[in-house]
Amino acid sequence: MILEFLSAGLDVFLSPLALGFTFAGIMVGLLVGAMPGLGPLMGIILLLPVAIGLPPVAAMGFLIAIFVGGSCGGSVSAILLRIPGTPLAAATLFDGYPLAQKGRASDAIGIAISASAMGGLLGGIVLVFFAPILAGFAANFAPPEYAMLAVMGLFAIVVISGGSIIKGLLSGCFGLLISTVGTDSFSTGLRFTFGSHNLLNGFHIVAVVVGLFAISEMAAQMLGRDLLKKPDVKVARPGLNTITMTVKHYVNLLRSSAIGTFFGAIPGAGGVISSFTSYAVAKALAKPDEKYGEGAEGGVVATEAANNSTVGGTLVPTLALGIPGDASSAMLLGALLILGFVPGPAMFENNPEVVGGIFMVYLASNIFLLIAGILATPLFVYVLRIPKVYLIPSILLLCSIGTFALQASVFDLQIMLLFGLIGILFRSADYPLAPIVIGMILGPILEANLRRALLISRDGYWIFLDRPVAAALVVVNVLLLAAMIYITVQRARGGKKSQLAKALEATDE
């Protein structure tokens, strides 16, 4: 079965367009990952309008490669500037920066890239083996199971996100409400369209997400006083011997990749938790002479292998169940929907070439990461020297043209600006933005399956307890709800925030 997917995917993957865009995605991902304030999510959002004009596998190759490259790119600025390009690389600071201070910056970057690529490949193996199995298991799922899975996805994101649970739930519910705008697919009635034909199909997800994340991020960047600053960083290209240095830590590499993949597969957990956890485990199991925190190679291997293998893990529920693991995979899911594919068991059944193509581009992107990362490090370091005064207007322009290009619609631009203002308000009041995206993606899945479940039920809501898998998911949701209440009470009592909690909060910004 797995070989069938891979062979079906190989045909579509081995096209110049798919290969070229996967490589381009890695380059873009490394660039956006290296630039503080951007990151893989922003890269996917900004380039989604470019991707949806491509054939499906090339488009997904481009976006998945941005995810892969972006998850690794943050380590460059973490190692050189002591500023993680993305919160994913926050744990890489602990040993990456001290390693650079010892004059081994290029070694640290080389190890980070090698560990990321190898961790990503191990995550890819899990993806290739487990996604079809999970999709096969989910093939028997009916509307009650899907409705409960959607609730679980939303709850998990809220529970694990770093900030206030109530604010997380409010953001998620706001996303669910946004998803109801437009024509109701059951009754064909119009909801919240206010007589505007532009809203008949609801808000375009790209316009909303670009506004929420990119516009509000640029406004936040404008508050800084380093807009004209040009960091003075120089580093030599890492040698190929950094691959050997990484392989020497093979136990750490395998363990951290397993941790990363595991956390990736749990909706909501994501790369930040996995990188901090694997760092903590690696440090706890290390010999005293390895001196974690003072420039240990193993520290960089642990965090980078974990955060990139998370990408493979997070694609498992995204592809097999249609439940995104985090905001970036929610955007990938959104891209698949725009391209005309509904992730889940049906896609494995009806479009094996797309599923196999996605497997192939994911595996290839990790190989490209190793090649491009090692060879082009001086380029990424050069990008760090570009002052924000040039980046901010360029990104705003990319937001505008990209959003306009979707449907040649000025209305989409207005929606982008409106959600930009909402994003600024939410950020300022510490409301996480990621649950809004997850809510928007899961909203139609939740509503449609909830209504279908009630339509086929003879006992109303009891249908959710009559079916064993649905009942098990109800129990999981109740446990998540209990966890939310517990966490809220614990946080209300106060207590110091850990570095992990701070990094988790940063992922939502």
């Binding site: 739930l169 404008m222 322009l397 043209i401 909402i422």
Partner: protein
């Protein structure tokens, strides 16, 4: 400068207005269409109504949490100057003006001034560099989107385009 408390209340106010809009639309427009009641197939209002009720309950919980919190002024913690906020606000104004005039003036006339203005707001005062880089950035993006992605950028009332 707005305190964190004020921003929290602004966000609560915004979400409360969303809840009100949901109920208002259900009671007016959706009732008129006959989709605000009935079984799971016909009742298109059921899901948004449930979510809106949930939001209302959560807003009350958030409001109570905010009131119970100690009154601490976070202004010093944020260390934001009025000039920083001015920069961010002005950028949004310039960007909003750009989006408003984009279809009238066209991409090629509107974009370079927008980039110039934002770079000026960022603090750059090297006018020649500003002019050259804003035209270069605008042209590079136009080339990429028009040539590689076949996007027709807004031409404006004067139908200005570059025949690449």
């Amino acid at each position: 400068m707005a305190s964190q408390r004020l921003l929290n209340f602004a966000a609560i106010g915004f979400l409360a207005s969303v809840v009100l809009i949901v109920f208002w639309q259900i009671e007016t427009d959706m009732k008129e269409q006959g989709i605000a009641s009935g079984g799971p197939y016909d009742n298109a209002a059921s899901f948004p109504r449930t979510i809106a009720i949930l939001v209302a309950v959560l807003l009350v919980a958030q409001l109570i949490t905010d009131f119970l919190k100690k009154r601490t002024d976070t202004r010093a913690e944020e260390d934001l100057r009025a000039s920083d906020l001015w920069r961010g606000g002005l950028m949004l104004v310039v960007f909003a003006v750009y989006l408003t005039i984009l279809t009238t003036a066209g991409y090629h006339l509107a974009t370079a001034p927008m980039i110039f203005a934002i770079m000026w707001i960022c603090g750059s005062r090297r006018y020649l560099v500003l002019a050259v880089s804003s035209v270069a950035i605008a042209t590079a993006f136009a080339f990429f989107f028009e040539v590689f992605l076949n996007v027709v950028l807004p031409l404006g009332v004067w139908n200005i385009f570059i025949p690449w």
